[in-house]
Symmetry: C2
Subunit: 173 residues, 2 copies
């Protein structure tokens, strides 16, 4: 355990990440992720476990709207019409990541971690997730974590994302 992020993130998240990676390795399912509000934390968790981090293929930290469009091919009209934190954008991010990675499964996260005031005028704690597979499955989740603060929302989102990945890897097996 000394060889992991250690005190960096809650232990249950590290255990979950290890579990996801071990299942992904066993199922030979390379994973890609596209993150907005979590800003690279999910990628960091999924590359922190020695011995199975190679199953994490690549990550896109698309913090700006332009980055979502450029790197993931999200249609600017969808961002403008639905907002960057929406079911539609989450799904487009996951599809874009899957198309642009050597992965069998791609998960996206877009949300308002808060606090408000950085151009985010949405609901604090609202986070959308999407997870799609090469086989064609697509799962969407909408979570309302409430005003848990930036750290609280980010941690809660990581938890949900890892649960979703585990579920989807299980469904592929």
């Amino acid at each position: 355990m000394a060889e992991t992020l250690g005190p960096a993130l809650p232990h249950d998240l590290q255990d979950k990440a290890r579990n996801v990676l071990e299942k992904a390795c066993k199922a030979r399912t390379p994973i890609a992720v596209a993150e907005s509000c979590t800003g690279g934390l999910l990628s960091a968790l999924l590359t922190d476990i020695p011995g199975c981090s190679h199953i994490f293929e690549r990550g896109f930290v698309t913090y700006s709207d332009q980055a979502k469009c450029d790197l993931l091919g999200v249609d600017r009209a969808i961002v403008d019409d639905c907002g960057a934190v929406s079911r539609e954008v989450a799904i487009a991010m996951a599809r874009g990541a899957l198309d642009r990675a050597e992965a069998d499964l791609a998960l996206s996260i877009t949300g308002f971690a808060g606090p408000p005031g950085e151009g985010d005028d949405g609901e604090e704690g609202l986070v959308h997730f999407a997870c799609c597979s090469k086989g064609g499955s697509m799962t969407h989740l909408e979570c309302h974590y409430g005003k848990e603060g930036r750290q609280g929302v980010r941690i809660a989102a990581l938890n949900t994302a890892l649960n979703l990945l585990e579920q989807e890897i299980g469904a592929l097996a």
Copy 2:
């Protein structure tokens, strides 16, 4: 401070990240990063400070060699000839990130965090950094942190990366 990653990473790293972001905001210098061995942690740090995280424009978590080539335009021949952990690849990653972002400054990190055995047969703790600006500057750093363990090397690399960013933002001002 309760609104940051809190216990997630050493406090001095958070303070450094805040300092870098504040200077980048003041200098109006959007930042992009391309990470390999740090796996998204630098992006996570640079999006964790409310009020100035918008100056972080996007991040590339190019964990696999293929991701470095696909997402950053690194020439496969450079990876094959010099190795993924090399001055040449670090520089190509930084240039590629700058060309593929709406940023004025791009920093890359590629290294062996260890432990060995995942196809990494290089020197544990060896990390290359490159930082380039739209103005044409390019700085390269080669660090030998030694066998500090995965967590130790990753934390040391974040520290170096933040120092380098601060220095380069200062040079632009």
